[in-house]
Structures are given as structure tokens and as C-alpha cells.
């Protein structure tokens, strides 16, 4: 029983990486009511760009790599916005969905070509720290990822509810036409949303790279799938929901890995998704207003 609980705890902690990705998905959905399928790939792309700093400064601190990933993530986020949303009619949900799917594959292939598909080591922090809580142990680096998720949530909620930008964002999210009539530049708000989610994606990618200890193009598709599941289960547009759902999905995944084996594990995660879609389509924390 202790082993099972420890496995669930391990999974829950690893779920913090899903939460970070889920937050990005949910933020774009909350503001634009669009799904950005390229988000996880862009996040991993940002993390790869972070490694570029090591080319110029060998032995640079991991924090510098994370900072570079953070900045690159913002830039990639803006480029994704330009390529997949700015010039594409937003009234057609399928058009932006397909453009972001295309962008996911494009980013994936760029990474594969740039790295020849090889896994690259990623600098880690606190990776050798194991905290003991009685019979249980907790990974220090994953606790950091969890802390970063909560911090990101706090910063995003502050931005959304305590700043003029947040007010404009919520206005665009709820009534884009009325917001435009009030003088809010909708395209600018959308672009800023993408830059912010891109910055967040850069952190997410770097945290994932650090917690896995390596980056590989193999990560993009599973993270996209997990990010979407987390977004739906957490409640489309709910930032706290994404965090709770990330931890839940991670725990659920590991629980079924122990109970049913690794090959069946993902079946049960998908069943969980369908259960939510049928019995609680709004997710755990469906926001009333659609904003964050």
C-alpha cells in the first residue's frame, strides 16, 4: 500500500509539469476562446533555445538557461500568434485550430532537424534533493516545478485582476466587439496574451527539461495531449483548475501504471477525460465569465 501511495505521490508531483503546460493552454482559451495546439511544442522550443546560452557561455548557470528559455518562449509565442492567429480569420475556429496543429508539426520538425532528433542534456536544479516525509520521499526539483506553477498562477491572476492590461484582456475575452468599441485594441491584447503565455511556456519547457534532465522532440506530442486533458479537466479557461487537474492527471497516470501496467496506463487517463466530458463538461473549475 505504501508503494502505491508513493507512486501516486510521484505522479502527482510530476503532474506539476502538466499543470504548467495546462496553464498556457487555458489562458489562451480563456482570452481568445481558441485552442493553441502548438503551445507545448513552442514551450519545448523555448527550452531548447535556452540551451543556446551554453553555446556562448559554456558552464553558464542553470538559472541563466531558464532565463534565456523564458525570453525565447515569449518570442516564439509572438511568432505563433502572427503565424497562426493574426492573419487568419478568428471567426473560423477550425482555421486557427488547423494552423496551430500545423505549427506544432513545424516546430517539432525544426527541433528534429536542428538537433538531429537527439536527446540533449538539460541543466537541472535541486535534482539531487530528496525530501523525506515519514515513509515517503519527494523530489526537490518537482517541488520547485510545483512552486513555479503556483507562482505563475499568482502572477497571472494578479495580471488579470489587478492591472489595466488584465481588465482589457477580460473585456476582450467576454465581449470583443464591445471592448473594441470602448477603444481597446483587440489585436494588441491578443498578441500580448500570446507573449505572456509564451513567456510562461518558456518557463514550463525549461522546468520540464530540468525535471526530466534532458530535452527530446519526443516530449512535444505527449505534453500537448496531457496539456489538453488538463485544460478540459481543470475547466476551460480556469488557471487554478489547470494546476489541480495537472496534479490529478499525474497521480491518476501513476496509479494506473501500478495497477494495470504501463501499456494500459494512458487508456485510463483517456477514460478519465471522457468521464469529465460526459459528466462534468465544464471541468473542475469552470469559470463563469470565461476569463481567468
Amino acid at each position: 500500500m505504501l508503494d502505491f501511495l508513493q507512486a501516486v505521490l510521484d505522479g502527482m508531483l510530476f503532474g506539476a509539469t502538466y499543470a504548467l503546460i495546462g496553464i498556457g493552454f487555458t489562458l489562451v482559451f480563456g482570452v481568445m476562446h481558441k485552442i493553441n495546439m502548438a503551445y507545448a511544442a513552442a514551450s519545448i522550443g523555448g527550452a531548447y533555445c535556452g540551451l543556446l546560452i551554453l553555446q556562448v557561455m559554456a558552464g553558464a548557470s542553470p538559472w541563466l538557461v531558464f532565463l534565456c528559455a523564458f525570453a525565447s518562449g515569449g518570442l516564439i509565442g509572438y511568432l505563433v500568434y502572427l503565424a497562426c492567429f493574426h492573419f487568419i480569420p478568428l471567426s473560423s475556429p477550425l482555421a486557427t485550430l488547423m494552423s496551430t496543429v500545423g505549427m506544432l508539426l513545424l516546430i517539432d520538425e525544426i527541433i528534429v532537424h536542428a538537433t538531429e532528433g537527439r536527446a540533449l542534456g538539460y541543466p537541472a536544479v535541486f535534482d539531487d534533493v530528496m525530501l523525506r516525509a515519514g515513509e515517503f520521499s519527494l523530489r526537490g526539483d518537482l517541488l520547485l516545478v510545483f512552486g513555479v506553477s503556483v507562482l505563475c498562477m499568482a502572477v497571472l491572476l494578479f495580471l488579470l485582476y489587478k492591472t489595466r492590461l488584465g481588465l482589457a484582456t477580460r473585456a476582450v475575452s467576454q465581449q470583443p466587439v464591445a471592448a473594441q468599441l470602448c477603444g481597446i485594441r483587440v489585436t494588441r491584447v491578443n498578441a500580448v496574451t500570446f507573449v505572456i503565455t509564451g513567456l510562461l511556456g518558456g518557463i514550463a519547457g525549461a522546468m520540464i527539461g530540468a525535471s526530466v534532465g534532458a530535452l527530446s522532440p519526443l516530449l512535444t506530442v505527449p505534453l500537448t495531449v496531457k496539456g489538453l486533458i488538463v485544460t478540459v479537466i481543470g475547466g476551460l479557461g480556469s488557471i487554478p483548475g489547470a494546476i489541480v487537474a495537472g496534479l490529478l492527471v499525474g497521480a491518476f497516470e501513476n496509479a494506473f501504471q501500478v495497477l494495470r501496467g504501463v501499456t494500459e496506463r494512458d487508456l485510463y487517463v483517456m477514460l478519465l477525460l471522457f468521464a469529465f466530458l460526459i459528466f462534468r463538461p465544464g471541468g473542475l473549475f469552470a469559470p463563469k465569465g470565461g476569463g481567468g
Binding site: D3, Q6, A7, D10, G11, F14, T17, E109, V112, H113, E116, G117, R118, A119, L120, G121, D127, D128, M130, S137, R139, I208, S211, V212, G213, A214, S216, P217, L218, L219, V221, P222, G250, N254, Q257, V258, G261, V262, T263
Partner: protein, 398 residues
Amino acid sequence: MKTLATAVAAALAAMALGLPSDVTAQERTVKITGFGAKSGVIRSFGINSEAAMLAAAEEINKAGGVKLADGSKAKIAVEFLDDRCNAEEGISVIRRIYGTDAIVAVGPTCSNVAEPLFGILQKKVDDKGDSGLQMPVFTDVAIKGGLAKISEWAFRNVPSEFIMYSSLYYWLKTQYPDAKTVYGGVEEDFAHSRALWYSVMKDRAQANGYTIVGESKWLLNDANFATQVREMKKVNADILSIAAHPFTTCGLLKEMKRQGYKPKVLVGLTSSSTSETLQGCAKDVEGMIIPTSFAPVNKEAKFAADQTAKYKGAADLHSMAAWENMFILKQVMESEKISGDKSQVQADRRKIRDGLAKLKTTQGLLGVSKRTADREADKPYLFVHAKGGEWKVLHNPL
């Protein structure tokens, strides 16, 4: 002036008549088409094979090329196609190659491509009722055991993992006499990894007197190994045999370090004795022992590795098999006296098939390889281990 005009006219006439001359010989080519994964996460395998083939062709061409039946010489032209490590793509690629003037195909990268692809080749030569492709395929990378027996047009120059791991576990017995137990870790959704653990490592370890005390499974794109390492740590076997590719091997090793688990002996998958593993986790992989059919241990092997590097490829057991294949094919083309004539492509393909089937031994970079009756290779091998950020030779059992 009149003499010059006569000489030019004679040369033009000779060309028109197809008579051999130095001028025509320089222009003649025989095409060898390589194919393998050049996109996706195992893109590096295709890149390395292509680089090795190009480098080997350059060496052969520098030495004059291939001697044809009429005594003239032809250069080798190499083309390389991407099958994306996908069975359907692989079949489409071999059909495309069949439609060209390529006289032999070298590839593929993945066993899950090789198996169905060999299935569309003619099973038995001269079987008129079998409309399968009559195209010789000389595999360099796809390593899953026993695939060449699917078709008499399929040949492989890949090491026998069965023999190599048998020898490795035997040697471990002599080096670690106290070690009694083996635990397995396997990438459950990858054909090569599964075949290696379930059909080779497990079987060979037991055959050498070890007790298998358990196995943990994960998937190719998994990133969390906490549960698997706890399982391993709980059993605490003497030898941990990991049948997984570099990304998950590194993930597992990092988790082992976190949980403070270190078995007496670490054994890895053949395809992990590459620079990718070192790039991903040089420190964590330290000590891992892997049998391989290539290491730059002699002048020829070092030369092949250097030449391949010029084409931006890395030398490993897979890419160096592609290098060897080119020289073996040159030898076969000359011994079987292929015409090199584009209108005789099918006849030349048949000669190459027959020539490959006749071979009893071939010269490889580490020494002589024996050819088996079912068109496989019995290659020389050695054991390497990760030390100081490099793969170094640990033991040469031959």
C-alpha cells in the same frame, strides 16, 4: 589540324558505338540507394548511414571505382531516401527504388520497417508464382534477430545480438562471480527494445546461470521513471539490463541517481553505445557496459570514422555497417561482373543477389565477418563501457 579532327571524330564514333574508353568510363555510374530514417526522433541514424555510404563511395571512386563486365570502370553514385521509420513509407520507398536504375538498396534503419518490407520481396528466387519485388536489400541498421530469412533477396550486415549478449553475460560471470541476479528494464513500445529484452537478454542471462528477478516497463516517450526505479531498488538485483534507447535510458539513470540506486553492473542496449547517450547523460551512464560491433580501435576503423565525419555523420555500429556494405557490394559487383548498363538493371540486381548469397565471409572494420546460411552476418564484436564521457573498449572477447 586534320589529325586533330580525325581524333575527335574517332572519339565521338567510339562514344556513339558504346565502346569502352577512358572518357566513357569516367561517365559511367552504378547507383546504390540507401534508405532509412532521416526525419523524426531517430533522424540521426539515417544521417549517419548516408554519411558513411557517401564517404565509402568517395573512397571507392577515388581508387578508380567499380570494374564492370566489359572491363571498364564505373563510379558509384549514392542516393539516400527517407522512410521516416514508418513501415508504409518504407514499402513505398523500396517500390520507388525498384522503379529506378539502382542496382541494390541499403537499409532500412528500423526493424519495424524491415520486417514488412522484406515481406514484399520475392520469397524464393526463381519462384514464378511469386510476384514479390526482385530487389536486393542489404541492411545496415535494423537489428532485430532473424529478419533476413523472410526473403532470399534480403541480406543483413548487422551484428547478432544473441551472440553478443550471450558472450557478455558469460564474461560478466567471470568478472563478477558473486553476481547472481538480473533485473530488466524495457521500452515496451519499441520493437528492437522488446525483442532485445524478451528474446535475447532474458534468455541469454538465464542460459549463463543468472536468475531473472523482475522487469520494469516504460514507453519510448516517457519522462517519469520514479515508479520503475522504486521497483528496481526494492529488488536490488546484481545486474540491471536496460533495453531502451538513449532518451529513456538517460531518464531512468537520472532517476536512479536521485533515488540512490546503483546496481553492481549496468548493461545497455547496443544502439545506446552512441554519442547521443553521452550528450544526454554522460555522468549518469558512467560504467554502463554494451556489446558493439564497432569501435575505432584500428587504423581502418579510425579512417572510416574520420571520413564519415567529413560528411557530418557519426561512426557507430550502425553507420559503420553501411560503410562495410559499400565495400562488400563493390567486391560483389566485380566478382559477379555486373554490366552497369541501365537496360540490364534487373539482370545486375540478380547478379548482386546471387553474389551476396555466395559470400562465406566478408571483410569488416573489426575483422572478418562470417556469413550465415540465412543471409545474416556473424560479426566481430567487443564490449565498451562509458568512461570519462567516452565509450571506451572494456574487453575484446574474440
